[in-house]
């Protein structure tokens, strides 16, 4: 078996008496997109901070691309790109200056800032101060900065939080393009639609522990309930919505009876969302 891009073993971290990460273990294959899902305070950001060398694990170990995250921190950081949730750009500098600065710090030879800015849709505004950019433009620039060193691994912390659909789609396209080049992506989010759309596997994090880790499809099969949502017209002219489970023995008969006896207006199939599954497993929602 090929060496995993990320290998985490029994990682712990506490802030004082508060246990943030409670002995998590997982592997991520090269080129895989793993989505870390969980509500605020679940420990997602602490995991990212440990893996990216911002925090030193208090117990356990982890390696990225075969390098120990503590002993070889600077080597690890040379191979990764990070897009933070909160904007942290030099706003009094232009986009080109921001990217050039980081390219120099990564010691990237022959860096083409303009090419990268074109990719993230910021071509033409590269010389303006970043302070004049919209939130979506800043987030795209953050993404470009994460890609400056052509990293083997990307850590994206809520990369599309609060963005307009165009910026969101640009960032999704960049993530897909990166994975096609073999980049491993570690995506933390509480947007289950985004995680479902982009992730090869998702991990549910709750109170510092991984409570489920699998492909979105298998999680839905294992935990979710399929249903048929039917809207019928009532004799008095009103409407009523009914839901029929597709996983019961009498489902076929129920569907037959409904279509025979009622006037059907609309029919939709429904599958469990990741949010539903998270709620089923933890008893709490992702926004909580």
């Amino acid at each position: 078996m090929a060496q995993p891009a990320i290998s985490v073993n029994d990682l712990h971290y506490s802030y004082g008496d508060t246990l943030a990460v409670d002995g998590i273990s997982f592997d991520v294959a090269e080129g895989e997109v793993i989505g870390f899902l969980g509500p605020n305070g679940a420990g997602k950001s602490t995991v990212v901070k440990m893996l990216t060398g911002q925090l030193t694990p208090q117990k356990g170990s982890a390696s990225l691309l075969g390098m120990d995250i503590v002993k070889e921190r600077k080597r690890v950081q040379q191979e990764i790109g990070i897009a933070f949730e909160t904007t942290n750009l030099y706003e009094q500098m232009s986009a080109v200056e921001n990217l050039d600065l980081f390219a120099k710090l990564y010691k990237v030879p022959n860096f083409d800032a303009m090419g990268l800015l074109e990719k993230v849709g910021l071509g033409g505004r590269e010389k303006e101060h970043v302070a004049s950019y919209s939130k979506g433009m800043k987030q795209r620039l953050m993404m470009a900065r994460a890609l400056v060193s052509d990293p083997k691994m990307l850590f994206l912390d809520e990369p599309t939080d609060g963005l307009d659909p165009v910026s969101t789609e640009t960032i999704h396209a960049l993530i897909r393009a990166a994975t096609q080049n073999g980049t491993t992506v570690f995506l933390t989010t509480h947007d289950m639609v985004e995680a479902d759309k982009l992730s090869d596997r998702v991990a549910f994090l709750n109170q510092g522990k991984i409570v489920a880790l699998d492909t979105p499809a298998r999680l839905k099969l294992s935990f979710g309930m399929r249903a048929l949502k039917v809207e019928i017209e009532l004799p008095d002219g009103g409407t009523e919505a009914r839901e029929l489970s597709l996983d019961l023995d009498q489902t076929a008969q129920d569907v037959f009876d409904l279509f025979k006896n009622e006037r059907i207006l609309t029919v939709h199939s429904e599958e469990a969302t990741l949010e539903d599954i998270f709620f089923d497993i933890t008893g709490r929602g992702l926004q909580g």
Binding site: Y90, K104, L105, R145
Partner: protein, 361 residues
Amino acid sequence: MDIQRIWILMGKEVRLGATNFMTIYVLVMPVIITLLVALVFGDLFAQTPRLGIYDAGGGERFTQKLLDHPSINTTLYSSDAALRNAVERGTEEAGMSLPAGFIEALESGTEEVNFTVYRWGEAGVRNLLLLESTLGRTLVEGGGEGFDQLPVSVVSNQIGNANTLTWSQRLLPLFLIMAIVLGGMWIPAASLIEEREKRTLVALTTTPTSLMDVYLSKTLMGLILSGIMAVIILLLNRAFAGELALLLLVIALGGLMSSVFGVILGSVSKDMDTFMGIVKAVGILLYAPGILKIFPQVPEWIGRIFPTYYLMNPLLEVSQNGAGFAEILLDVAVLAVIIAALLVILSSVIGRQQQQLAMES
């Protein structure tokens, strides 16, 4: 530590500082105040060095050379007493009383020549140095031999109270401290706080750049700025004199002390408001030695209580009094101990800062 990254980060500091109001303010402020004081007290357009000469006879060729010299303002006096009186009043900054047969004796090269020089106690060191070098050159030309071999004996008399200082001289220590402390301390501290508040520091330290590299770049930036500021202030006050290497060494040590202190303050200040609060609280302690120097009657030992005394005093001693290394050794040693203590504190601060940054981000 990575020199290349430190250099890149310093370039970024210069780029951001050039458009930052606070940076411009702290750099321009001491210069403006110095110029204002110089304008108000009339030292900005100070006259060329003033030399009085009394020639008892036979020194016409020599005195004519000095009268023709473009860099000094020379006046002839009819008697030694009149010359002495002029120097005493400050009309002349130096006076040269030539005995009869001075030139002949000088040209013969065999006879020892004695003459008297009067120095006004309040004369600036720059003017005195200029006068001395001009006299030296003129003597060599007159004697036709190497200056070292001249059989000339100079009797030097200081006239007037050397402790009587002009306002520019009184304020120079304060301006020097302001320049070094503002440039060295304020800019690294403010830059560090801003980077923390805007979270760019986290972005930097998640690249292969270490926090140590970032801190060193800011410390060096403070050191360079305070050095430049100190030189500018000394030049503006016509006090950039004395042994150059020694002067630069003291400026560098003073700048290092200020910038390390600034980086520590920037690390421990939660935000800009906290920093301003600390500066307001300790500012008077930083500037105290300079303020005390305005009043020469205040005993020197009081100034020695304050750490900035040990960057200010050696600078003044070298630039104003022409002191050598031996004379400022004690002050420099104390300065080095203060810097060492600050570096120990800084290394501890850096250790804690990495974790704090991660928690704040």
